[in-house]
């Protein structure tokens, strides 16, 4: 979106309060959604709950194609559609709800840096494991991704997505990495997050911010998703303060959720 379009959107967003019928769209939960999309979607849900904004979750098979940027999840609020956590945070800020207002400039710089770290390492590692690791891609990712469609469309879409993701991995230099190196990167990222969290309840003071929502989304999904090997979950589990952080956020904000 160009800068002018973003400015207009902020203006329009600020005009109305948050409606009751806001909806969030993601792929089908049981059959279709993959690890990385589930993590992003959970992060957005956590953020909206932390802000106290009600939102209904709808699962649609074509959610990825409905999204304005092609990424999951996206929210439909009033007459606007916004996708991805970054733009959604700005959108809610325009409506007057923000979690990071109390931070000073240096803290805000740190928060943004850590969010980029999660995106750069955790999200990329999730994508790598899903699509570049042959066993996971064959047994889990491709069947799940194409489950709503019939032959031959399912084969075409699955391989197209895999090709796109592999191109991206090559472009950023992850194409030559082995699975072991990727697990090692995940460990380092978790170690950095664990050290930043320390013994605090949330990453910044006593109040959660969008960084907490993002970290919760990714870690909780990694811990609760079954893959071909449990190595990824084991790496995350070795950091006890991250585990208790996830449990705390789940109990505080998702206690009425049955899964």
């Amino acid at each position: 979106m160009s800068l002018a379009a973003e400015a207009f959107m902020s203006q329009m967003a600020a005009a109305e309060p948050w409606p009751e019928n806001a909806t969030l769209y993601q792929p089908l939960k049981e059959d279709q959604i993959l690890l990385s999309d589930c993590a992003s979607s959970l992060a957005v849900q956590a953020y909206l709950r932390m802000c106290g904004l009600p939102v209904q979750v709808f699962c649609r098979a074509n959610a990825e194609y409905m999204s304005p940027s092609g990424k999951i999840p996206f929210i439909h609020v009033g007459n606007q559609v916004v996708s991805e956590l970054g733009p959604i945070v700005q959108f809610t800020k325009a409506k007057g709800h923000s979690l990071s207002d109390g931070l000073d400039d240096v803290q805000r710089a740190e928060m943004k840096a850590y969010m980029e770290l999660v995106n750069n390492m955790l999200l990329t590692a999730e994508l790598y494991i899903q699509w570049c690791d042959d066993s996971t891609a064959t047994e889990i990712s491709r069947p799940r991704y194409s489950s709503p469609y019939s032959w031959p469309l399912n084969k075409i879409l699955a391989y197209q997505k895999q090709w796109e993701v592999r191109r991206k991995m090559n472009a950023i230099g992850w194409g030559g990495k082995t699975l072991e190196q990727v697990y090692e990167d995940v460990s380092q990222c978790c170690q950095a997050l664990s050290q930043r969290l320390g013994t605090q309840s949330y990453f910044f003071n006593k109040q959660p911010t969008e960084l907490d929502a993002l970290v919760f989304g990714h870690l909780f999904t990694i811990l609760t998703t079954r893959l071909t090997s449990t190595e990824l979950a084991e790496r995350v589990k070795s950091y006890s303060n991250l585990l208790s952080f996830c449990r705390r956020v789940e109990q505080t904000y998702f206690e009425d959720k049955s899964s």
Partner: protein, 318 residues
């Protein structure tokens, strides 16, 4: 034996110009880190050799092993006990990783765009420079290859390639980059380096990304003008050049101002913030104005007044 191994390390990188030991971001990162950690490395620039097309730069060769990519090279140097991050706490180490991720995600696409995709900069500065440093006939291929690599990297990481073209992501990557520069500036504050008084790997990464943008004579770059307003970041680059690279023969102009004193906080912090805010707003207003004028829904002004039927020749109505 470690001493012997250390003496045998050779770094292949692009050569220097514009007052910098190297014009290539990744090579600069590694060079800066070797200076900070005290590693003795023989620098062999690949200019004017066939290595410009055969070798991935930067590359550290030590005995039989060759290591590529700045992060891998830094890890290798740390294992050889050249560690500039020795005194960092665990929390600071975590911050280092986070800020490096921020630089790579938010600043690097815009830098690649400024140097390799922006037509004016590419044809006036980048391509002639790289072409002049490559032997015949590689000078026809090397810049183009690097440019297409940069473009595909930008499109694949910041825009879904089939949906967006480069013109649509341009606005976003530049606004992200300006925000990233502001964040770096807040984090650096009035200090000489990001963590205390001695430089670390984060300083090496920041220097590698910022120095080419600061020193290159780019014909058109709003990002460079934005960086020039952030005094503490430009002072940071100049300081490193003066202290660590002034004796290098690569650096022709670095010492022109003499050794610089540590960055003094001359501008009021509030004034600095206000300047950044005003620039952001004025850029936004400019863009909105441009977009409005070029919008197809905007009714064009009448090109010329309709020729009046009666006033052509007659001078007196009566």
């Amino acid at each position: 034996m470690n001493q012997n191994m250390a003496a045998a390390m050779e770094l292949r990188c692009w050569g220097g110009d514009w007052g910098l030991p190297s014009v290539h971001t990744e090579s600069l990162i590694v060079l800066a880190y070797t200076k900070f950690s005290g590693a003795k490395v023989a620098v062999s620039p690949i200019d004017w050799t066939w290595k410009t097309i055969t070798v991935t730069v930067p590359e550290l060769v030590c005995g039989d092993t060759a290591v590529q990519e700045p992060t891998q090279i830094l890890n290798f140097l740390r294992k050889q006990r050249f560690n500039a991050d020795y005194e960092l706490t665990a929390r600071q180490g975590a911050d280092t990783m986070a800020y490096i991720a921020l630089l790579e995600e938010k600043l690097q696409p815009a830098l690649l765009h400024t140097f390799w995709v922006d037509a004016e900069n590419y044809s006036n500065l980048t391509r002639p420079w790289f072409a002049s440093r490559s032997p015949f006939p590689l000078n026809f291929f090397v810049p183009g290859r690097l440019a297409s690599g940069a473009l595909s990297r930008i499109l694949l990481t910041t825009g879904e390639a089939p949906l967006h073209r480069i013109s649509e992501v341009e606005g976003k990557i530049y606004s992200d980059a300006k925000e990233c520069l502001n964040l770096l500036s807040y984090r650096l504050g009035t200090a000489n380096f990001f963590f205390g008084n001695s430089p670390t790997s984060l300083d090496a990464f920041a220097f590698g990304f910022l120095a080419p943008l600061h020193k290159a004579s780019l014909p058109s770059s709003p990002l460079q003008s934005h960086l020039r307003q952030l005094d503490n970041l430009t002072g940071f680059c100049d300081n490193i050049l003066a202290v660590y690279f002034s004796s290098d023969h690569f650096c022709k102009i670095a010492a022109q101002a003499g050794p610089l004193p540590p960055v003094q906080e001359t501008m009021d912090a509030n004034l600095q913030k206000l300047t950044q805010l005003v620039n952001k707003e004025s850029n936004l207003i400019e863009k909105m104005d441009d977009n409005l004028r070029s919008s197809p829904q905007h009714k064009p002004h009448r090109p010329e007044p309709k020729p009046s039927l009666s006033s052509a020749k007659s001078s007196t109505p009566a």
